[in-house]
């Protein structure tokens, strides 16, 4: 095929300059309206009442407490989620066992469930109306409307995040290297740390970054299980809602600007990690298909 080609490549479909310019123009304008404008507006609105209001919102005890609660939630939920993601990817990609595909479906379920449904589901486990509610109440253990509930709900919505980055990659890398290391006498941990981890570190970090962004920004699920107690169980997204409904728009946008900065940092980290090769393994949008693909391979 390439032998026939001489010098200049023939124009491909859609290379007509007029069409090309028009399509780029339309896409950029619609994109600017729908995606870029909301981000820019946050900056404008945050400083709409001047930088004094902005600063005073950020140093207000309620805001500081909301930031602290959001950070604590992430510091607990993200590492636990990461350990789970690594364990799930190791079990699913390094071994064959019956029900592998079903397990993948279970891991990916939270991805397609409304955060509100997730919150309600937790209510029926740990709430007074729920399975363990009465027992927990007798021993005065507070899970709902407290930090544990917020962490659990956050772990539900982000359960697939690390696993779905690692599984396609580790599936593609196969088992040969680990098998060689083990047969040369390396222990399981040593094999993981010196053979597997260096190969998956960027994808792992990629998953962790996305997981962290979602945990810090989760609204629906946390809103159901937290009880929205000002200065106690309000995470940053809930704090934004509270200020907004209190007609403190500038304060709400000032708090929102922190999360907007987090989103921008997340995107920059994502692009940087993609340059290292993370997220590049061709994979389906749902990882459930990875196992199927490998099973049907001749």
């Amino acid at each position: 095929m390439s032998a026939i080609r001489t010098g200049r490549k023939p124009p491909r479909v859609g290379d007509n300059p007029l069409f090309r310019g028009l399509l780029i123009g339309i896409v950029l304008i619609v994109g600017a309206i729908l995606v870029l404008a909301p981000l820019i507006l946050i900056g404008f609105q945050a400083f709409s009442d001047g930088w004094r209001v902005y600063a005073s919102t950020l140093v207000h005890p309620d805001t500081r407490h909301a930031i602290l609660l959001t950070v604590i939630t992430a510091l607990i939920a993200v590492p636990i989620n990461t350990i789970f993601g690594i364990a799930a990817a190791w079990a699913i990609t390094k071994f064959d066992f019956p029900g592998r595909r079903f397990l993948l479906v279970l891991i990916e379920i939270p991805f397609s469930i409304s955060p509100i449904v997730a919150g309600v589901a937790y209510l029926f486990v740990y709430g007074l109306q729920g399975l363990f509610g009465p027992v927990l109440d007798t021993y005065e253990i507070k899970i709902l409307f407290a930090l544990p509930g917020i962490i659990l709900a956050s772990m539900f919505v982000t359960a697939p995040f690390v696993a779905r980055e690692l599984i396609p990659l580790m599936q593609a890398q196969g088992r040969d290297l680990e098998e060689a290391a083990t047969s040369l006498g390396a222990s399981g941990w040593r094999t993981f740390l010196t053979v597997t981890l260096p190969n998956i570190k960027w994808a792992l970090l990629y998953g962790v970054v996305l997981c962290n962004a979602r945990v810090m920004g989760e609204f629906g699920a946390v809103s159901v299980v937290s009880g929205n107690i000002r200065g106690q169980t309000n995470t940053l997204p809930l704090h934004i809602e509270l200020l907004y409904h209190d007609y403190q728009a500038a304060g709400a946008f000032a708090s929102a600007s922190i999360l907007a900065i987090l989103a921008v940092i997340t995107i920059i980290a994502k692009v940087a990690l993609e340059r290292q090769g993370a997220g590049r393994v061709p994979r389906p949008a749902l990882v459930t298909q990875v196992a199927v693909a490998s099973e049907t391979k001749p």
């Binding site: 479909v13 896409v27 509100i116 659990l152 962004a213 809103s223 159901v224 995107i267």
Partner: protein, 273 residues
């Protein structure tokens, strides 16, 4: 089949099953149990109440509108990002992920401020008599925003891997650009488009944070199903909350199954070609 020599199955599988069981399966089972304990007639009465049915209609219709918009815009965006190089395309490519990275509550208040009648876009549209914020149109805007990346990110890799020889062959046979797009390129993209569509639609059906700020939340007209669940909870009507939440849960499972079937087909397609 050769024997697997790798260690760590009991530990890794144990951790996985424990976590999935405690974090994912247990809560969903508890919700299903609660909804099932209602009994068929009570359950049906709740989920078929006029207010619930109105909420399904708004949610589904707005999700359809948002998905159709994303089909057209997402496809155009994926095309522009893979076929053309222009100043700032890397920036545009990175910004496609903003809706996933920006917390939904932040997106919600920001879109509301933009499209309210005194906002940057709302004031312009108001001159033409178009109201976006606090109408179903606003719900569609919020849904379109939060689910935008799905179609772009499922179509983009397929478009990148498309063999130029196919187009060249069609061109040499005298096909016009539009004919080649319709008859050659689009059929190859279809499986990816369908998978992206179902993901986008499912996400729109379940979205909450971005919508409640812009929706107006009037019962029977701009109240989405997820919000109705939340309202029933605030009224301490746990049975109604469980029943309506179970409708959303069942819908999510159906959408998950649909996506899986579509992807299995898409995968078979790519393996063959």
């Amino acid at each position: 089949m050769k024997r697997n020599v790798l260690p760590g199955l009991p530990l890794s599988l144990g951790v996985t099953l424990f976590y999935v069981g405690l974090i994912v399966v247990l809560p969903l089972a508890a919700l299903a149990f609660k909804a099932a304990s209602l009994g068929p007639s009570d359950y049906w009465a709740i989920i078929s109440s006029p207010r619930a049915v109105a909420s399904y209609r708004v949610t589904v219709l707005c999700a359809l509108g948002a998905t159709v918009f994303n089909l057209v815009f997402g496809l155009a965006l994926a095309w522009v990002l893979t076929r053309y190089r222009f100043p700032g395309w890397r920036f545009v490519d990175a910004m496609v992920d903003l809706p996933f990275a920006l917390p939904t509550a932040v997106a919600g208040i920001s879109l509301t401020a933009l499209f309210a009648s005194n906002g940057w876009f709302g004031s312009v549209l108001a001159d033409f008599g178009i109201k976006v914020a606090y109408t179903p149109l606003g719900i569609m805007v919020a849904m379109a925003f939060t689910s935008l990346p799905f179609i772009v990110r499922t179509v983009q890799p397929v478009l990148e891997d498309l063999d130029p020889a196919l187009e060249e062959a069609a061109q040499s046979l005298g096909g016009s650009d539009w004919t080649i797009f319709r008859k050659v390129i689009l059929p190859l993209l279809t499986p990816a488009i369908l998978a992206g569509l179902s993901l986008s639609f499912a996400r729109s059906l379940g979205e909450f944070g971005a919508i409640i700020f812009i929706a107006g939340n009037q019962p029977m007209s701009t109240e989405i199903t997820a919000l109705l669940v939340f309202i029933r909870l605030e009224e301490y009507d746990y049975q109604a909350a469980a029943a309506i939440a179970s409708v959303l849960l069942i819908t999510a499972f159906v959408m998950l199954a649909v996506t899986n079937i579509l992807q299995a087909r898409a995968l078979r397609y790519t393996v063959r070609s």
